[in-house]
Homo-oligomer: 143 residues x 12
């Protein structure tokens, strides 16, 4: 499961200097290819609605063994998503396209990062592939 | 009206050591029984969506004389729900399953508590029954 | 485009001492009339849902040359809406019915105001007309 | 054991708009009646002296199975009482007549609330009865 | 009465990218024209001296029915001017040429804004005209 | 009623460079003389115990028309005494021997000063006489 | 020397509920009478200009043996006046008409209070008389 | 003089994992023995009452050449005890059973530590013996 | 242009231990001599009035190629002077007689220092000569 | 270049539950293998000395095209290393073994992260491999 | 092992009023004598270099059963030393010559104190002997 | 003695827009020439190692009558260097190439500036010559 938050549907057109020119669909293709190479399969989801994201996280345990998560702006504000992840039975890796530490101070803090296995931040679309590799490694080590 | 916020639909399965093993349906049964005993009737609602909860609070005056409210994580972050309660014409009691004061610091603050008649926190599912009793008392005193 | 956030659908009934007795429909009529006088046309939208508002802002560039925005309580909390405006290709003016500086401290801060052309605050329904006039001026100066 | 802190001996005469017109003696009568109905018995104590309250809490384990505690202003300042409760072998419920969250900011914090089972705040004298009911429930569940 | 604070006499030459190329005299002409169109008349004053501005505000009640006020840097620091406005018997509108929220943090706070009817910020010289329109509307509604 | 808090019984011997060489008994004599000259009479009390001071304030209404209060270190820490004065039906004047503003920062704040008519600080023993004069003036103006 | 800061020339008309109905001229008469009774004479000065007040304080040593000072709003903001008092060779007493501790938090701090002998706050016009009495006492004790 | 504050009478039974199993009486025996070996004698006192502790500190000069002080929770909150030690004419050593720096942040601060010769913290009952040795050394060096 | 702020006219008499015994006239003589030696000429100005200093800075571009500035206490508080320097077309060097970093914390911050070429602080009257040398060097490098 | 800071020489023995059982030599072997597979070569360095690390960073441009950096505790405190990286002409990736966001608050901040391309945190030794892959991708994209 | 940090090699000459006239060599002699009396032996080390101290702490487990540690200024700033102690397998006692609580606020905090058994502060050279005694007691109790 | 801290060995190549194109060797030549002209001689030292700089400061008294000090990034973080200067028997002048007040907030604070005679900041390499002149003046005045 690869879960994407608000405004990530605009990728490729939104501030390309900051977020790159790949669209979310481009990233999905790359992630699927890498997943296939690693013997895994992935589901993609995106929503601008905090509540829908909460619904998705609540259902995540039945649909996936692990998750790659980019909650966009909700990363910094949503206690409701934090609570949903607290109740989720699977490990997840947090990924951000831009380097959070180069952004405004309120984006240096993530309400979910301490629940994640780890975080990959600053490598653009390539960060999803690194996160996938990391997650597959974690899942294999746990078996 | 008993209004429940995000992740409360997971009750019974989500962190049972913290929130108890009763489901929201179990609580609904208990609250209905106690309400009947007190000569009152109740409506139950739950949503993970902040906007839907705002809609519900906006409609609350036409549907109920008072409310029992557990906004989950939105308790600590939602000014939009605070504004909705500011406009609501009925008294409400705030209830929390866990003792907020045993949780992280950001959960010690509630954006709606000063608008409520009062708060009951820390008694698990039983808190809903205490809140109901308190609310019925307040409503009878106002008549 | 005139975009309105949570609880603004209650205008006229919600705390009239603070927000005035005009309903959002009344304001829409006045804005349309003034727009016609200025040779412009307007679309009105309102939602209590942060995600729907993000959707609306994402689509704003295709539908309008500029926007008048009153995000209600999300003005103070929604980084997701800030991100949506960061990606929006058109200028907007922020308007508030009440004078934000007479309200509680957390309402003195706006997460979108530094992205707006400017702000008009404190003049009730008339503020929408002033914002319209300001926006039309800005758009004409840019041509 | 129902333990009452400074100025609660003034109940009924002290700021009745805030604290109600019931005296502490009136509350004692109501609590005794409800306790009898629940098959329990209660002891009442009140003191304006922090040291006497520490003494009372130190002796609480020998005299009671549980406690209802309203420490008045010491709720917000007394680490000595916090230490005494840390050493006390019985569960207690914290009760406040007024809604702490409607008061000044320094009254939103309680130095003992995280040690309590939970808190009931804002329901006036009725809060003692709710606290009693809650405490009896907790004690029965622990047996 | 249109009251202007320190450095506004430099308008047109001082940081034109930020404040525009209109001089204070240009603005005065525009405001007088718009006032005439609205059936009102205006007096203009400017000073770099806090004390002179206090004197002007003290005399404002005898000279005008309302005021448009741009106190420049004193907006953020002068409690003496705040006190003078507290004693002034007429409504005023606060106006700023640049968008305060795009400036440094210490310029986001105004010591007089909560005393004003409202604020118009970010529209350059046009802001004075919007403020005039707003003020005339307020004065007519009060009659 | 002249009420004195902790360590004021040491006056004359405790840090005379800071507090002066007059003992509390010396001050009592001076205050009685001045009171007699003003046609008033006074009672003196001192205690190192916060609880006893609360008891004294609770009983103050029956014993006096007004009070002069020097709570010593409890001035800065005792919410219990603040609550007692909130319930007291008579006006009081706060007095301090040393100039609080020359002391450490935590002594610049008084938990009772906003409840007092006013404060006299920094004039040593003479401050009691000034406070007496002020209090008598206030009581006569209220008649 | 009795030195008065900004807006004190409005006394009697400015917020009489807060500052009383006596004008500064009324206070001057009362202070002169009391001074005569104490065998002293006084000069009165008032200015709304921080710079003029600095000039007055600089000249204070040649004109007076001591001063009574009410700097109005400059009490809370003027480091320049603090510097002037640091260089002044005579003792002064700070006086405020309203009780500073009942005002907004930024008025609880005085930049000159630690340089003064002491402060008298909250007794309206009578505070000037108390300050005079205190100052005369201090000057006589120093001879 | 060995002075002990609130809840130290519970030693041995109160949180033995934190404070050890020695009672205060056990410690008294050990301290007396070590004092005898060092040619000194000691008095022991304990109280849960802040006021009684103030009384004890006020009388300390007449009864002892130096003191060992463990004020328990009052260490962190009691300005009244700080004032009493400011007036006390003898040196004292502050001792704490547990390591204050392993406790909550509010226990890292002591209102009396800067008045003490020094502090010994974290060595359980043995800390009293180390404090005694340190104090005897200081007293001998001063002779 | 050498610009001097409030209380600098007292130099030589005001706190000589801190500011030295040279008067401002003495410094003017030394600066003129050194300027002559460097082939430059200087104008001196001093005012206690913030507004006059703003006027002087506004006119500085027409009168000088560069400035040496000691704004005294306004260094730490005057946004109006900061704005005036923002609009000034010439480089300036900030100088302070005492070492700001040895003073109270509020004097460690300068509202103009980031606009200056640099700062010289702590060398008494000699600092003006060093500032002159630095300024001449900067002006020559820019030609 | 792979640069390792203080205490990383202890890897494998230091808190293995937190940092894993791989030694730094084990990691070096894995990184060399992966580098070879990617057609790159690596140098490893480790030091406990801040100054030596500054020396290494100063020399980094001559020795490598990019760097993988784990500065251990200096990540959070060393402005000197930040300055060295500011002057370094090559891109670097920051890596941490443990998830910084699960650690104490002072470890959530990195003084170099905003200078890095990005950060990989929380994946143990595998993080070095992910960082290598990310760095190689960045270097190839820049060619 | 007795480990000493920066500037402790200057003992006896550096600020003797604060740190005493004993040199580090003098202290070493005293500690060796007391250790011999207690049947223990000690190694002494001192360094001004943070990195060398990290090296020493890393090697501490092989050389000693326990340590007495005075890290000088690094006590307050070095996370690298904190990390080294986190990995060290032996107990240590922290000692400071001066009373940290009489020093500036930034010296009240120690980054290692919560890892130590306890702290002895304020007794000059004698503090090393007390720390030795405490450490020997702890080591014997653990056997 | 001219003492230079971390990264100053990179001068001329490191961020020349900020620090200028002169190397440290160039500066040394200029300082030696100016020193010769003033009848003084200088020693230059630079190190990236905090410990080495502490060693150098400890030995400074034997080698020089005064010092010019640019500690680079350690200016803002090193309490160990502050302690070394506290023990140094000679005056020093602090110099910075760039204007500290134009840099990030954490570079506005210097841990040694209050120990220095004064500071020269913002004049690039010329600042060393100004500092030399200032230091020679101070040393001559002290003779």
């Amino acid at each position: 499961m690869v879960l994407n938050g608000p405004n990530l549907n605009l990728l490729g057109t939104r501030e390309p200097a900051l977020y790159g020119s790949a669209t979310l669909a481009d990233i999905e293709v790359q992630v699927r290819e890498r997943a296939a190479a690693l013997g895994a399969s992935v589901t993609f989801a995106q929503s601008n609605h905090e509540g829908e994201l909460v619904d998705l996280v609540q259902g995540i345990g039945g649909n996936a063994e692990g998750a790659i998560v980019n909650l966009g702006a909700y990363t910094h504000t949503s206690l409701a998503l934090r609570d949903a992840f607290l109740a989720a039975p699977i490990p997840f890796v947090e990924v951000h396209l831009s380097n959070l530490f180069k952004r405004e101070a309120e984006r240096h803090h993530s309400v979910t990062a301490d629940l994640a296995v780890g975080m990959v931040t600053g490598f653009g679309a390539a960060g999803y592939l690194l996160a996938l590799e990391a997650l597959v490694g974690v899942l294999r080590a746990r078996r």
